[in-house]
């Protein structure tokens, strides 16, 4: 199990994933994060809402969050596939 850092963009509310070099709109860009240091920095900067470290596993298709909630956050509403976020 790995940890991913995620949150919502202050300006747009968009779901964001920490990609190692910055924030990405795409779950597929997310990288494993070690420790709480980065989370603490993000909280202090006040530009990302509801930042959190979530559980995930790395699969051949990319990171897969453990919970349905985070998988839906990563992709978009399951009932409006036309609004889903496509891979970059």
């Amino acid at each position: 199990m790995i940890k991913l850092l995620t949150g919502n963009d202050l300006l747009t509310g968009d779901v964001l994933w920490w990609s190692g070099a910055g924030w990405s709109l795409h779950l597929g860009d997310a990288v494993a994060v070690d420790g709480d240091g980065l989370l603490a920095k993000v909280i202090a900067e006040e530009r990302i809402n509801d930042p959190a470290l979530i559980d995930a596993e790395m699969t051949p298709e990319g990171p897969r969050p453990r919970t349905m909630r985070e998988r839906i956050r990563g992709r978009g509403p399951t009932v409006r596939l036309d609004l889903n976020r496509m891979p970059a």
Partner: protein, 544 residues
Amino acid sequence: MYRYDEYDQAIVDARVAEFRDQVARRLANEITEDQFKPLRLMNGLYLQLHAYMLRVAVPYGTLSGTQMHALAHIARKYDRGYGHFTTRQNIQYNWIKLAEAPDLLAELAAVEMHAIQTSGNCIRNISSDQFAGAAADELADPRPYAELLRQWSSFHPEFSFLPRKFKIAVTASDTDRAAIQLHDIGLQLIDRDGVRGFKVWVGGGMGRTPMIGHVVREFIPASQYLSFCEAILRVYNRYGRRDNIYKARIKILVHELGAEEFTRQVEAEWALLEPLALDAPAAEYARIVAQFAEPAYDPAASDRLDLADPGFALWVKQNVHPHKRPGYAIATISLKPVGGIPGDASADQMDLIADLAARYAHDEIRVTHSQNLVLAHVRKADLHALWTALDAVGLATANLDLVTDIIACPGLDYCALANARSIPVAQQIAARFADLDRQHDIGELKIKISGCINACGHHHAGHIGILGVDKKGEEAYQLLLGGSGAEDTSLAKILGPGFTEAGIVDAVEKVIDRYRSVRTGPSERFLDTYRRVGADPFKEAVYG
């Protein structure tokens, strides 16, 4: 319809300006999110799973065509082309950008709308009967009283920070179309000895701890209902629990004190308030009533209706209700097409409905707590043309109060609080029962689905209720039977162990099949059968 006076408009405009400044300060990092969050929530702006969500108030569910066009415009300009009508008779937008929210609110204010008090621990949007002012069975239009409550409760300085949110519903008919016994305060307009007044329920609600309201007053004269509500709120504000969010609603206070003691305290408080003459002057009430004047009905409107077209006849049978005026009818537009998302409407659909309201319904639209829309004043002679226009765009589904007319909250597809998805379950049940003949054979059956225990989907009041729960990060569903939000209010009970997403749809079908085999005949509703035979036959059908 009520129109803003200069005070209403000034208040709403000032709030937009204030919020614009607050947003600017947040974007400049001059205030933290912890400081900003309560401010944005006071303006109806939530952060959900994918984006900000804005909840716009539709007072007592009444909209003008102009306002509906504005909602369509907002859906296109600020959202992704659609909106979601809610069980509080409001509309929510799912994809709002924070920086654009002040402009959006300014556009709403221009058509006398806002998002104030659609969140937070305050008195929320006043809800009412969607047939108000039109129903053949009502005593009088309850909306002037609802409007007075709106004015009284808007920015009420004493009740802006209550222990928890507070919901009031007002009706004027023995047929309860607004679930008044499941509100913090439920008011039914009645006459007694020639005097108009209200029967008052307090302490109803759904959520984590569902309770049916208690009658605290069999009759309060209409001239004094505001001060009586003030007394109720004062007792709640003073003694409602603030130490535990799960025990903070007034229903818990009423339960813990006992209805008799709670009533005694309200009466004692009211005895202090009553001499202060806090109620609205008769002239103010008359001013508001005048704004709800009846539309200019056609005195020559005919009751004749040609039902030769079977599709039209079915729609009339199911979706059209009696109007108080000869030659008129009330038409409900189902937002529950099979395969659709309950309560969702596209911008194009909103525009079309607004146009149809202008052409056929005196430019007025209602939002129902069942997530449908209503044209309340339609000449019977125009019903076929209306149906034809609706049918052409898939808005003429003849399923009102049938098994596919499902209430569903946004659930885990959108909501940050949800544990499970509601919409896909509603869609699968609707697909399973898509055959209209089968639906009509089953008859009245209200399925209500919530994606979490907060019960926005009213599962406690469902003839069949479904509650989504979290099971170690995956979705599961509980099945409840026997609830009602109507005048025969009851709370649904859990039938047994829960199900997966596929399993819950099968379980619902087994329940319905068992109902059809044990009912006394097609005229016995599901709910009446359940009340007659109890849960055991359904348990046996589902769990074997």
